[in-house]
Symmetry: C2
Subunit: 288 residues, 2 copies
């Protein structure tokens, strides 16, 4: 059997589509990238044009929410040479880490690991979010077992209508389905929730959530992350004014990992001969 | 005794300084503002120019992190006619709520309360943050009983050096001193912490935290809020690479309320005849 190449997997991921103008998707580390001093000013576009060898046979794929040091090490130990990461390598949305932290020891150690292993790392963020429906949101809805209850897929969120559950029951359901230890809730735990907006990632802000609440008569918004002074405070004021409303923060990673697992499953289906690992980090925060 | 006027209190708050260009501080609601349809497009500057009666005698002052519906009701019940709020009335940083949510029922009810009570609301955000040192950060350091351990006041954070404590012990100390039920921690709870960066508000991002870590050899950053994929992921990678480092998220309100309480104390000292209430909301989130 002819081996699958890195170029073929990337082509499948991008589905022939051009990269989004001003977006972050693309090869952000590769064996030819060197990560030498000459790359210290690598900006987003240069990173997107990062060298990689399209004809290299894929030995294994790791799909992750964030390519952390630990997950890159785990991927290398599994014989992976292609990593698909939703978030960036260097602690900012735009892949400019090599430029904005040129002398940072944490960045340097990660670059050394990348250089040593020669793994190709693809940032895969905008493309799955801009699918119809958003593949990350759809993966979250699937993981929550709410696909049969779907009312609408909006560009930045999905809306479901479930049999009424209290907010506390929704929290238990969400934790069990996603395998996460806790969620943070604004609102009365005894409040009944029926219509729920689900916004993966950093889409918990009022700019997304409030119009969604208005358009769909929502009882609850579930988001990954968002500014604390926006939707949670809106929800608090609404409840005080006699309009029961609630907000659940899952955590950014917790809200997007299911979508990345769905992408791993999709790659497995398309490339059955290639080992595809969906690698997951421990929860980022513990509650103390 | 001549009564203290609203104008005098505002003048004292601003200390004669001009409002910051492009900033958010100023009168954002007042008896003359009307909140009628003509104000629906009120933008930041118009809000800052919002009418109020400077010569009205102050019947009471409420100082809050966010002027929520519940705290405005409480202030009115206490006979307050001047509210000093760090964050905005309408769920966004810039006081454009009346414009960006013109037909929103939650906004409408809050505007009705403001109109009914005729309270003057002053947004007080940029000015305390731009004091030397930042009054909000200094209030947090004071509340944490770390003023004697202060090493430096940077523009966006303070640095303290304490007798070494584990991260878990620091978390217990912080919760006890601030009276908050939990914190979220990234890092090993057994890790010893000695040099700590303290960043109030939404300053937990890598752009503030990483240079601070580098400049001061920090073990721990304590912040109000920040993007989850930035500093916490940096800290996780650092620990994996053998550089113990930790991050504590207090919550945005939890990190800035002590600074606002300090401002209330400062007003009480200056205007001993005026009742000044530091009003505090219940925690925004509960962990479920």
């Amino acid at each position: 059997m002819t081996p699958v190449t890195i170029g073929e997997v990337i082509k499948h991921l991008l589905d022939g589509a051009a990269l989004v103008e001003g977006g972050v998707d693309g090869v952000v580390a590769g064996p030819g990238s060197g990560w030498g001093e000459a790359d210290a000013n690598t900006d987003t576009d240069a990173a997107r044009a990062g060298t990689f060898n399209a004809s290299t046979a894929v030995t294994g794929v790791a799909v992750v929410f964030t390519a952390t040091q630990a997950l890159l090490e785990q991927a290398a130990a599994l014989g992976v040479n292609l990593v698909i990461s939703h978030e960036g390598l260097f602690y900012c949305h735009r892949e400019a880490g090599a430029a904005w932290l040129p002398d940072d020891p944490v960045v340097r150690a990660k670059r050394e690991l990348l250089g040593r292993t020669g793994m190709t790392v693809v940032r895969y963020h905008d493309r799955p979010h801009r699918c119809q429906p958003d593949a990350i949101t759809a993966g979250l809805i699937e993981a929550l077992a709410w696909a049969p209850h779907l009312l609408a897929h909006e560009p930045a969120a999905a809306v479901v209508e479930i049999e009424p559950m209290t907010l506390a029951q929704v929290a238990r359901h969400v934790k069990a389905k996603l395998g996460i230890p806790y969620v943070r809730a604004a609102g009365n735990p005894d409040m009944l929730c029926r219509r729920i907006g689900v916004a993966a990632g950093y889409r918990g802000g009022a700019g997304v959530a409030v119009p969604l609440i208005q358009a769909h008569g929502l009882d609850l918004v579930i988001a990954g992350e968002g500014p604390e002074w926006e939707t949670p405070e809106y929800v608090r004021d609404a409840a005080r004014e006699g309009r029961p409303l609630a907000y659940l923060a899952l955590g950014h990673a917790e809200s997007e990992e299911p979508g990345m697992r769905a992408i791993a499953a999709w790659l497995r289906e398309r490339f059955p001969g290639v080992p595809v690992h969906a690698l997951r980090e421990a929860p980022l925060f513990r509650v103390l």
